[in-house]
């Protein structure tokens, strides 16, 4: 009897492993499959490869339109990430410092940009920005992307703060430091990983956002994802695969930095 049970249990474990491995393949394979195609010598996005070539990267780096779009993505992404980090970190600290009426509601309210479908938001901006001359402007897209990034900063900084020892603040104040000094030399170094992590998150939100760019961006604000959107829609060429590979490399870079930051903040918390 018990033998039969363990056999079924073993069978279930095998099923679990098989299904999970299939799931992992499903998650990663398509992303990895596009990478070799960017080095394809032929001009079709199909296997087997017809020789190796860097021509699509050449096309990407020297065509002008792609570099222009990278420049735009960086301008918008960096500015939006800074704005989002600043506002989001302040708010997270405020939410953590004290209980005040409606705090729960405010928390949910601040996360709303993450939840509301971006099309609705973008259409709203399409009308809202027009009289301010913010459509087809960098300022408009920076504001929009900063809004979309703030929830991620609030979440990551809140998570960092939840492991923060409040007595450190009291100790600092008790030893005669001014509140500003306490904020600068105690609070900020400890929550910095959370803020940077949130900023990276906000940057990656901006880097992949295309709906706002489609609706309120002008021809001068064509970003990398916007360029990819047209590319996929009109004529999917190996240059798209090269662009995708570069963005995957960027994603890995962000993932690694995020992981390092997470480890650092865990170490800092373990130390106290």
């Amino acid at each position: 009897m018990s033998g039969a049970v363990t056999t079924t249990e073993k069978a279930w474990r095998v099923v679990l492993y098989v299904v999970s491995i299939a799931g992992f393949v499903f998650l990663v394979a398509p992303i990895l499959a596009i990478v070799p195609l960017s080095f394809n010598g032929g001009q079709f996005l199909t296997y087997p490869l017809r020789g190796l070539s860097l021509r699509w990267y050449e096309d990407f780096f020297f065509s002008g339109t792609w570099m222009f779009s990278i420049r735009n993505s960086l301008i918008i992404g960096v500015a939006a990430a800074f704005l989002a980090s600043f506002l989001g970190a302040l708010a997270a600290i405020g939410l953590w410092l004290a209980e005040f009426p409606g705090k729960r509601f405010i928390g949910a309210f601040l996360l709303a940009p993450m939840i509301v479908p971006i099309v609705i938001y973008s259409v709203g901006l399409y009308f809202y920005f027009a009289p301010w001359n913010l459509t087809a402007s960098f300022a408009g897209l920076i504001l929009a992307h900063a809004v979309l990034g703030t929830p991620f900063v609030v979440i990551t900084v809140s998570a960092t703060l939840s492991g923060f020892d409040r007595t450190l603040i009291r100790a600092g104040l008790g030893l005669g430091a001014s509140p500003i000094r306490v904020a600068r030399s105690i609070v900020f170094p400890l929550i910095a990983p959370g803020v940077i992590f949130g900023g990276l998150f906000a940057f990656s939100v901006s880097l992949e956002e295309v709906i706002t760019v489609l609706l309120i961006g002008g021809p001068n604000q064509r970003t990398l994802p916007r360029e990819m959107f047209s590319g996929i829609r009109e004529n999917i060429s190996p240059t798209i695969a090269a662009a995708a590979t570069i963005m995957i490399a960027l994603a890995i870079l962000l993932l690694v930095s995020a992981e390092l930051l997470r480890r650092r903040s865990m170490r800092l918390q373990a130390k106290r």
């Binding site: 799931g23 410092l97 004290a98 939840i115 609705i120 994802p225």
Partner: protein, 418 residues
């Protein structure tokens, strides 16, 4: 009265008061830190969305171009008519048709009426053009207008004008549920060739639900496997979940277009394994949309599931087993109830994101696979039917907010989101 008796309570009271004051100041200071973001979100998030929603029920095109007509239509006693007004309304309409034709504002009204009644655009434009050529005012505007275009004698025309006479209208919101007001002001279904919006909502719901269930089916075993592994091993495998999570949406969508195309990898493998003879159509149709969306949203299911599964102590399952429960019973009655919050949170999160999806269906789907978001963007930029775009947005937003409220109840505030 001795001094101590007086001073004691008073001292305590003032101490309490200053404590309360310090506490209040602390709260204010904390709130002051949150305030900039609240203002920022109100100004650049809530205000734009509110402005858009307003367009779903505020309808002033006709009122602004034809103020007298709008007033006359409201003053007229429709109950006693056959759905077509008398000279009082026509006398207001005639001169305003002419003046709006000269001011070029008539096109906006014509477009607005055409949303409701096909053919209304040419009816208005032709009448306005011909009236503006008349010398002097006719004896009867009603007769003159009816002679130019008999369409003005139809109750349908006037039902459309009444519906557009502003300042508020239910027209766009009714249209999104395939309903309209008839000549007698009753809410009736629209004609079958115009009844497309419930289908679009239904399609959106079906796609989002299918994707959610697939994410649960694929995500559950992965999260379960990860939660049973030691933390360092789990973290390494977690990279396989986080890599797609951090890879931009456009890259993942491009990857799926490439992999699923006629001569793509999936079709090559299927043919290699002799599962199919010829290439299967997997992209620019529903299958492609579901595959790509499931891939994009799967991490949103795995992460909350994993977070909850890790907190479940293995002792409970062991206890259940040692008390004689068969494995499946123990799993179903002891394990599943404990991770139910994770299942609910992950499913609602995936469903919320899926319902508003635009980019993936636009690139991987065909014309019959587009979801509500696509039409919102389409009516905004392509056909410039802003009222309808706003009304569809209102429906989508309402559904999203209801789900979000349930979600926050389940996971509780900011802490639970990550």
């Amino acid at each position: 009265m001795t001094p101590t008796l007086v001073e004691g309570p008073r001292g305590a009271r003032s101490l309490k008061r200053s404590l309360a004051r310090a506490e209040r100041r602390k709260k204010l200071r904390a709130f002051a830190l949150v305030l900039p973001l609240i203002v920022f979100i109100l100004l650049f998030f809530v205000a734009p969305i509110a402005g858009m929603l307003e367009r779903s029920f505020v309808d002033t095109d006709l009122m602004e171009a034809w103020p007298e007509t709008a007033a006359a239509v409201k003053a007229f006693d429709w109950a006693k008519s056959e759905g077509v007004p008398d000279e009082s309304v026509f006398a207001a309409l005639g001169p305003e048709l002419v003046s709006s034709y000269e001011a070029k504002s008539v096109a906006g009204v014509a477009r607005r009426l055409n949303y409701d009644l096909s053919g209304a655009r040419s009816l208005v434009m032709t009448t306005a053009r011909k009236l503006s050529r008349l010398d002097g005012a006719p004896a009867s505007w009603r007769a003159a207008i009816l002679e130019i275009e008999p369409g003005w004698g139809k109750p349908d025309t006037w039902a459309a004008i009444r519906g557009a006479s502003g300042p508020f209208t239910g027209f766009f919101l009714l249209q999104t549920i395939d309903r309209q007001r008839d000549a007698h002001d009753n809410i009736v279904p629209v004609s079958p060739d115009r009844a497309i919006y419930l289908t679009i909502y239904g399609r959106t719901f079906v796609i989002a639900l299918t994707v959610t269930l697939l994410c649960l089916a694929i995500g559950f075993p992965i999260a379960f496997l990860l939660s049973g592994l030691p933390e360092n091993k789990a973290n390494i495998l977690m990279i396989l979940v986080l890599l797609p999570f951090w890879t931009p949406l456009l890259v993942r969508t491009a990857a799926w277009v490439v992999v699923l195309q006629e001569h793509g990898l999936v079709n090559q493998i299927l043919q290699l394994l002799h599962l199919t003879d010829g290439p299967v159509r997997l992209v620019y149709n529903r299958a492609g949309v579901i595959i790509a969306m499931t891939h994009v949203l799967l991490p949103f299911m795995i992460l909350p599931l994993y977070a909850v599964m890790r907190t479940v102590p293995p002792e409970y399952m062991r206890a259940a087993r040692s008390l004689g429960a068969p494995p499946f019973t123990a799993f179903r009655r002891v394990y599943i109830p404990q991770i139910m919050p994770g299942i609910a949170a992950g499913s609602i999160l995936v469903f919320i994101i899926a319902v508003g999806y635009y980019i993936t269906p636009a690139l991987v789907g065909g014309a019959a696979d587009q979801m509500v978001s696509y039409y919102i963007a389409f009516y905004t930029t392509d056909t410039v039917n802003w009222g309808l775009a706003a009304a569809l947005g209102a429906g989508l937003l309402a559904a999203t907010l209801v789900l979000y409220t349930i979600y926050t109840r389940l996971v509780g505030g900011i802490r639970g989101v990550m």
